[in-house]
């Protein structure tokens, strides 16, 4: 391939600049990067910690095992929708219909389960397919017809609201009693032993991936992560995961004789698998690379021969499918669907989660973990405010202020980045 040009006798660009192999030097380099403003997820994490400490002081029960489990189950639907929105936002598009699309998919699930008595896996599949269809239609209208995504999805926002109303027969609640569906985000737990096994497998797999990559790079003479850094990363994963699993495996039931509430909520496993999957897609496959390219510079991507229309359609499909996942989770949690499922502030919270996590509304910048972190932030605010038990007006005003505070921590710590010329 590059036989033409590789005729030079100069050394490769990196030669002589191989970074140091020691942990100390690596840490120093990382420190310089952070001081220079390249902080990744640090500010969002910082905001999260500040909030947790604040709520923990105001309401000590915030730090209980029960509340820890609540956090996951309460935030799950928004996180799922936000993960899908990251893909849409990466292209600089928007999906205002995601909230009600999740409602429609949830209603499809509920109707098939209760009115048509289909098995749960058929209903779940149908809900997901509904999401795919919705996404395809939106994508086609945006990419092929050329209507701005804001307008298409605003129309979708209205239309799906209507469809949802029609599906639930103009306002009745449809109860869902299927035990599998209810397990998803209502009462399903992993047995404690299984959680430990899964955690260990995850940590081992993570370590293996990192070490193999390192070995490959060293073999080809490329810069590689120092071993100590890998150990540190793996260790951090093991410790954080271990603590979380340990706490979630504590008995949370008020009445252990009647019912035992122990173990990692099922929805955590589901979201973790999805998050890993999408992270893999975005960072390790050509498709993911192309999403970033189209979002960063659509014309450059087109000139590079990327099928831009296909990418644009696909992100809406992913967005709506993840909305369907969010809808399924919401139905599971509420054990029912009503015309408000996916309504109210679900959409704004989901977009907000992605954006607070660091995803840009202008495209080209964002990661799946952003949605998870931002979603966690939103969930903590909601959860903490719930514990405070204040009146609705004060709660709204306070939630806004807390959100601003969390975002302000982020913004202020990123200002140095701008000062250093990196944006």
């Amino acid at each position: 391939m590059s036989n033409i040009v590789v005729t030079s006798e100069q050394p490769p660009v990196d030669a002589g600049q191989r970074p140091p192999a020691g942990l100390a030097a690596y840490a120093r380099n990382y420190g310089a990067r952070v001081r220079g403003g390249d902080m990744g997820a640090l500010p969002a994490l910082l905001g999260l910690v500040v909030l947790c400490v604040g709520f923990g002081i105001a309401r000590p029960v915030f730090f209980s095992a029960t509340n820890f489990a609540n956090l996951f189950t309460q935030g799950a639907a928004v996180v799922a929708i936000a993960m899908g929105l990251v893909f849409v936002l990466l292209l600089g598009e928007i999906d205002l219909s995601a909230g009600f699309a999740s409602g429609v998919c949830g209603a499809v699930l509920a109707v098939l389960l209760t009115e048509h008595h289909l098995p749960w896996y058929v209903a779940v599949l149908a809900a997901l397919v509904t999401g795919v269809v919705i996404g395809t239609i939106i994508g086609l209208l945006v990419a092929k017809v050329g209507i701005p995504s804001f307008v298409v999805t605003l129309a979708g926002f209205l239309a799906f609201q209507g469809v949802l109303l029609l599906l639930v027969n103009n306002g009745t609640n449809i109860s869902v009693t299927d035990p599998t569906i209810k397990a998803i985000d209502s009462d399903g737990q992993l047995p404690p032993a299984v959680s430990w096994v899964l955690l260990i497998l995850t940590v081992v797999a993570f370590a293996a991936v990192r070490l193999t990559r390192r070995a490959g790079r060293i073999k080809r003479g490329l810069v590689a992560e120092p071993l100590s850094v890998i150990i540190l990363r793996v260790g951090a994963l093991a410790v954080i995961g271990g603590v979380a699993v340990y706490v979630l495996n504590l008995e949370r039931s008020r009445n252990p004789a009647v019912v035992s509430l122990r173990g990692v909520p099922l929805v955590v496993l589901i979201l973790a698998v999805i998050a890993v999957l999408w992270t893999f897609v975005l960072s390790r496959t050509a498709y993911g690379r192309h999403i970033y390219a189209v979002g960063g510079n659509r014309e450059a991507a087109r000139r590079a021969g990327i099928n831009v229309d296909r990418i644009r359609i696909s992100v809406f499909v992913i967005g709506s499918t993840m909305a369907a996942v969010g809808g399924i989770i919401a139905v599971s949690r509420a054990n029912s669907v009503d015309p408000n499922t996916g309504g109210s502030n679900v959409l704004l919270y989901a977009v907000g989660a992605a954006v607070i996590g660091g995803t840009s509304l202008f495209g080209g910048k964002g990661r799946v973990i952003d949605a998870v972190l931002g979603g966690a932030l939103m969930a903590v605010i909601e959860n903490g405010m719930g514990l405070m038990g204040v009146s609705a007006g004060i709660k709204y005003a306070f939630t806004g202020a807390v959100l601003l505070l969390a975002a302000g921590v982020d913004a202020l710590s990123r200002r140095r980045a701008a000062a250093a010329g990196l944006r």
């Binding site: 660009v13 003479g221 510079n297």
Partner: protein, 263 residues
């Protein structure tokens, strides 16, 4: 040299709204040759190249590859015909790093997974061969590159693919002395290995140093396409600025209004 051109366009017309930018342009590129495309600012060189590359749809005209008529609707079509272009407005993704930009749209993979290691190595070698010494790391975002570094990345990206036709739109405009020499040498080497190369440049020294053939655009019309050995420096400059030189070039009538809004 070769009788049939590797790529040829005939009678290309292109308007942007009411403004006609290209008018019945014929242009042929031969394998093993460097064809220089010259013309004043705004003559239509970049537009012609973008039409060939499928960036702009043409209003009318024919497109032949190895004598066979083809249609090109998008950059993907052009790439499939083996045409690789470095555009003047480089069009790099600022949010991607150098390696990611260089392999964009043609990533190396291991199964599903991107083969980052191979790509990084290839990118490093290619850049080194273009005399780039100040790039700190091939994992730097292109947003942080200097003007010349960006241009080098774009050139490296294009020559990585060993395409049959390589078109370079003012590739050395931002390059330093050493880098310019490297690129000109590369252009010559590409032609000598049988590729068809088009070089757009305002620098007459560079043009005469490497090109076999010179095509001059004047206000959207092809004034002349001649062997480089048949013309002098001064003649080419005259073709560029006036559209004709002696018996070469456009007929003297109406040259002043061809490109304006017709009343």
């Amino acid at each position: 040299m070769a009788a049939t051109p590797l790529l040829e366009v005939r009678g290309i017309n292109k308007s942007f709204g009411p403004v006609q930018v290209l008018r019945d342009v014929d242009f042929a590129i031969y394998p093993g040759e460097v064809t220089a495309l010259v013309g004043d600012n705004g003559a239509g060189k970049s537009t012609l190249v973008k039409c060939i590359g499928g960036i702009h749809p043409i209003d009318s005209g024919e497109y032949y590859v190895e004598g066979q008529p083809v249609t090109v609707h998008s950059p993907r079509d052009a790439a499939q015909l083996g045409v690789e272009i470095v555009y003047q407005d480089l069009a790099l993704c600022d949010n991607l790093d150098i390696v990611q930009n260089m392999f964009l749209g043609r990533e190396r993979r291991n199964g599903l997974v991107l083969d980052e290691i191979t790509m990084e190595q290839l990118a490093t070698n290619t850049l080194a061969s273009l005399s780039v010494r100040t790039v700190k790391s091939v994992r730097q975002l292109v947003a942080s590159l200097s003007g010349g570094q960006r241009q080098t990345v774009a050139i490296a990206k294009a020559v990585l693919w060993n395409s049959r036709v390589v078109i370079l739109d003012e590739p050395t405009a931002a390059l330093g002395v050493a880098q310019t020499a490297q690129v000109l040498e590369l252009v010559r080497r590409l032609a000598d290995t049988g590729h068809a190369v088009v070089l757009i440049s305002h620098n007459m020294n560079d043009v005469f140093a490497v090109s076999d053939r010179i095509a001059a655009l004047y206000l959207g019309r092809m004034a002349a396409q001649v062997k480089a050995t048949d013309v002098t420096h001064a003649q080419v400059v005259e073709l560029i600025t006036a559209g004709r030189s002696g018996d070469l070039g456009l007929a003297p009538t109406g040259a002043e209004t061809v490109n304006g809004v017709q009343s």
